[in-house]
C-alpha cells in the first residue's frame, strides 16, 4: 500500500497441476502485494487454491504442479529483489526459512519423530550458517529458548523432548518458534489452527497476535477460518476457484463486503451476539478446476447472476479506496448488505 515497502509482490500468477483428467488450474492470475509488517489472510473454501498459493511462495509445489506464468518478487533482507520463479536450487534452499518460513497445516507430523526438539533447531541453524553465521552451542540454546518463549512454551521442558512427548498444540507452537529462529521476513501459516481443538486454537491465535504486535515481520495466513482472519489479518483476500475475488482491509471485508462470495462466507458463520439470524450456506459446491464455468466462475452459485456474469469474467474493480472486488454487481451486493445491517457481524469487532 501507499508509502509501505512491499516485501513480496505477486503478479499474474498461474499455477496448474498436470493430472490424468487434464490441467487443474489451481491458481489463476493472482496478484497481490505484501507490506513489510503486514498480515494478509487468504480465505476461501477447500479447493480454492489457497494452499497451492502458499506452497508456491516457498516453491514447494508437488511434482506435477508448475508455475505456468507470472512472477513472485521477494525483497530479501539485503534489499536485493529475488525472482522466486527462477531461483536456483541452492539460492532457493537458503531463501527458505531465512527469508520466508512456513508453518504447515499438518503440525502433528511436521517434526522428525526420532529427533529431539533441540536438534530441530540445531539442524535448521546449521544448514543456514553460511548466511546467518554459525549459531551453535550456548548461543543456539539461547536463541531457541527465546523463540520458544515467544510462543509461550517452557524451553526447559520442550527442548529436550521428542515430538511424541508434546501435545498437538505444543507441536504447532514449536513449529512457529522454529519458524522464528532465523528471523524471516515473511511467515506463511497454512491453516495453522485446523487440526487443533478449540481451546488450543485460541491459544495459538493469542500467540500469533502477540507475535504480530511485538515483532515486525509480515505474515500470510491461509485459512478457511474467518475468525482467525478477523483477529490476525490487516488485509483479507477472498479466494474462489483459484483467484482473488475480493481484497481489502479487514474491516472492509467483514463490514462492507462487495462480492457475493464474501457475503456467503460471512453468512455461513454464526455470530456471538445475534441468535435470530439464520445461518446459510452457499448453495452448490466449488467448481471443477479442470472444467471451469464460463464468465464469472461464481455465477452458478450466485443469487445475483445475470447473462453478463455468464459471459464475461469480471476483473477486480475498485469498489472503495484499497478495496477491490471481482463482481459486475458489486454495487447491488453492497447496498443489499448495508440494508440488512452489517452490524450482525460485529462480534468480531467486539472480540478484537
Amino acid at each position: 500500500m501507499e508509502g509501505r515497502a512491499d516485501v513480496l509482490s505477486v503478479r499474474e500468477l498461474e499455477i496448474g497441476y498436470e493430472t490424468g483428467r487434464g490441467l487443474v488450474r489451481a491458481v489463476r492470475g493472482v496478484s497481490f502485494d505484501l507490506g513489510d509488517d503486514e498480515s494478509l489472510a487468504f480465505i476461501g473454501e477447500s479447493g480454492s487454491g489457497k494452499t497451492t498459493l502458499g506452497l508456491s511462495l516457498v516453491r514447494l509445489l508437488p511434482q506435477n504442479a508448475s508455475i505456468a506464468k507470472g512472477e513472485i518478487a521477494f525483497r530479501a533482507a539485503s534489499e536485493e529483489v529475488l525472482d522466486l520463479t527462477t531461483l536456483d536450487d541452492e539460492d532457493l534452499r537458503r531463501f527458505r526459512w531465512e527469508e520466508c518460513a512456513m508453518v504447515f497445516q499438518s503440525a502433528l507430523n511436521a517434526l522428525n519423530p526420532v529427533m529431539r526438539i533441540r536438534d530441530h533447531f540445531a539442524d535448521t541453524a546449521k544448514d543456514h550458517s553460511e548466511t546467518n553465521g554459525s549459531l551453535k552451542g550456548r548461543a543456539l540454546t539461547e536463541r531457541a529458548t527465546e523463540c520458544l518463549e515467544m510462543v509461550q512454551l517452557d524451553p526447559g521442558r520442550v527442548l529436550g523432548s521428542f515430538p511424541h512427548e508434546l501435545s498437538g498444540g505444543m507441536r504447532q507452537r514449536v513449529m512457529i518458534a522454529l519458524g522464528l529462529l532465523l528471523n524471516p521476513r515473511v511467515l506463511i501459516l497454512d491453516e495453522p489452527t485446523t487440526a487443533l481443538d478449540v481451546l488450543t486454537q485460541r491459544a495459538i491465535i493469542e500467540v500469533l497476535r502477540t507475535l504480530k504486535v511485538e515483532h515486525r515481520f509480515a505474515m500470510i495466513f491461509v485459512s478457511h477460518d474467518l475468525s482467525l482472519a478477523a483477529e490476525l489479518a490487516d488485509r483479507v483476500a477472498t479466494t474462489y476457484a483459484g483467484r482473488i475475488v475480493e481484497l481489502g482491509e479487514v474491516e472492509q471485508i467483514f463490514y462492507h463486503p462487495r462480492h457475493p462470495y464474501t457475503v456467503g462466507l460471512l453468512d455461513a458463520v454464526p455470530t456471538l451476539a445475534g441468535g435470530q439470524q439464520e445461518l446459510s450456506s452457499i448453495p452448490g459446491s466449488p467448481p471443477d478446476l479442470i472444467d471451469l464455468p464460463t464468465g464469472c466462475k461464481f455465477h452458478p452459485r450466485c443469487p445475483y447472476a445475470t447473462d453478463k456474469c455468464r459471459e464475461e469474467d469480471p476483473p477486480l474493480i475498485e469498489v472503495a479506496p484499497a478495496q477491490t472486488a471481482a463482481c459486475w454487481h458489486w454495487e447491488k451486493v453492497g447496498s443489499d448488505w448495508e440494508a440488512r445491517g452489517g452490524e450482525i457481524h460485529e462480534r468480531d469487532a467486539n472480540r478484537a
Binding site: 522428525n112 519423530p113 526420532v114 535448521t124 544448514d127
Partner: protein, 341 residues
C-alpha cells in the same frame, strides 16, 4: 523389586530373554532324556552290546558323560542338569573323551559369530542403502533392475545359493580355489591381531559370508525401498525442505533414519533364520563353525555335543534378538516411553 523390573524396559527385556533360554534348556533336557529310545539309553545299550560292559558300568559312564545321575528321579536329574548348566558344565564329548563340551562349543562358536555377524552387517547396510537408492530413483531403469534382482535373490533358499556358488564359481568356472578355502583358517596361521590373520579369516569366511549376504539382502532392499517411499511422503520431510535443510541432511537424518526402522525390526527374525541356515552352509563350505561341529556330532552320534550346540545356537539367537531389540529402542524414541508387550 519386581515392580522396578517391570517398569524398566531393559530389565524386562533381559528377564524375558533369560526365561526363554531357561525354557529352551529345559526342552533340550526333556527331549534327550524322555524321548523313546533316548540317546542316553541308546548309548548305554551300545556300550553293553559293543564293548561288553556291564549295564551298571555303562550307566555310570553315560551319567558322567551327560553329567546326569541316571538313578535319581527325573526332577532331580533335571535340577542337577540346570545346576551344571548354570556353571557352564555341559558334560563331556563322547568322541573326544574327557574334553568338556563347553570347551569344544566355545572353540567353534567364534567362527560362526564372525561369519554371520559380518554377513548381517554387510547385508543390512548395503541393503538399506540400495533400497533407499531405489526409492529415490523410483520408476527408473536402475530401480527396475534392482527390484527384480532383490526379489530373485530373496526367493532362492540360502543353501541352494551356496550350492550354486560352489558348483558354478568353484567347480565349473574354477574362479576360486574352493579346496584351499575350506576350514576357518589356513594351516599355520596363528590367531592374533595382525593383517595376515584377519585377511586369512576373511578369506576362509568369504563364501559363507557371500551366501548369507545374498540370502538376506533382497529382503532389506525391498523393505527399505517401500519404507523410504512412504517416508518421502511424510510431512516432516516436506517441512525439512521448507526449512531449507541440505538435501544430504534430509536424506540421512530425516528420510533414511526413519525409513530404516521397519527393516530393522526384521533383523531379529532374520538373525534366527541365518543361524539356522548356517548349519547347512557351514557344512557345505566346510567352514569350521557350530554348524560344521553339529554336522560331525550328528554323524558320530556325539549327543552331549549336539545338545551343547543346540543350546549355544538358541542362546545366541536369543541374545542377538535381545541386542537388536535394545538397539531398536535406542533408534526409535517412541518405543522407549511406551514400552512394549
Amino acid at each position: 523389586m519386581l515392580r522396578k523390573i517391570a517398569s524398566s524396559y531393559l530389565l524386562r527385556r533381559v528377564a524375558k530373554a533369560l526365561i526363554t533360554i531357561f525354557v529352551m534348556a529345559s526342552l533340550t533336557f526333556f527331549l534327550i532324556r524322555l524321548m523313546p529310545g533316548s540317546p542316553v539309553e541308546a548309548y548305554i545299550a551300545n556300550l553293553v552290546t559293543q564293548y561288553n560292559v556291564s549295564y551298571e558300568n555303562a550307566k555310570q559312564q553315560a551319567a558322567s558323560l551327560f553329567s546326569l545321575d541316571l538313578n535319581a528321579p527325573v526332577y532331580q536329574q533335571y535340577l542337577e542338569y540346570l545346576g551344571n548348566l548354570a556353571r557352564g558344565d555341559l558334560g563331556e564329548s563322547l568322541i573326544s573323551r574327557g574334553v568338556p563340551v563347553s570347551e569344544i562349543v566355545l572353540a567353534y562358536l567364534p567362527w560362526t559369530l564372525f561369519s554371520i555377524g559380518t554377513a548381517l552387517i554387510i547385508s543390512f547396510s548395503l541393503g538399506i542403502m540400495l533400497g533407499m537408492l531405489m526409492a529415490y530413483k523410483r520408476e527408473t531403469k536402475l530401480d527396475h533392475i534392482l527390484t527384480n534382482l532383490g526379489s530373485i535373490v530373496s526367493s532362492v533358499p540360502d543353501y541352494l545359493m551356496g550350492i550354486l556358488i560352489l558348483v558354478w564359481v568353484g567347480v565349473q568356472w574354477e574362479l576360486i580355489d574352493i579346496t584351499n578355502m575350506r576350514g576357518s583358517l589356513s594351516p599355520g596361521i596363528q590367531p592374533g591381531f595382525n593383517l595376515t590373520f584377519i585377511g586369512d579369516a576373511f578369506y576362509h569366511a568369504s563364501l559363507p559370508i557371500i551366501t548369507y549376504v545374498l540370502g538376506t539382502i533382497g529382503l532389506w532392499m525391498l523393505t527399505m525401498r517401500g519404507s523410504t517411499e512412504s517416508t518421502l511422503g511424510e510431512d516432516y520431510v516436506t517441512v525439512a525442505k521448507a526449512r531449507g535443510l541440505k538435501e544430504r541432511r534430509i536424506a540421512t537424518a530425516y528420510v533414511g533414519r526413519n525409513a530404516a526402522l521397519p527393516p530393522f525390526t526384521q533383523l531379529s527374525i532374520s538373525i534366527a533364520l541365518v543361524f539356522g541356515g548356517s548349519l547347512l552352509i557351514e557344512w557345505l563350505f566346510v567352514y569350521e563353525g557350530l554348524g560344521y561341529l553339529l554336522y560331525n556330532a550328528i554323524q558320530q552320534r556325539d549327543y552331549p555335543v549336539m545338545q551343547g550346540v543346540f543350546l549355544m545356537i538358541t542362546t545366541m539367537v536369543i541374545v542377538a534378538n535381545l541386542l537388536a531389540d535394545l538397539l531398536y529402542s535406542r533408534l526409535d524414541p517412541r518405543i522407549r516411553v511406551a514400552g512394549r508387550d
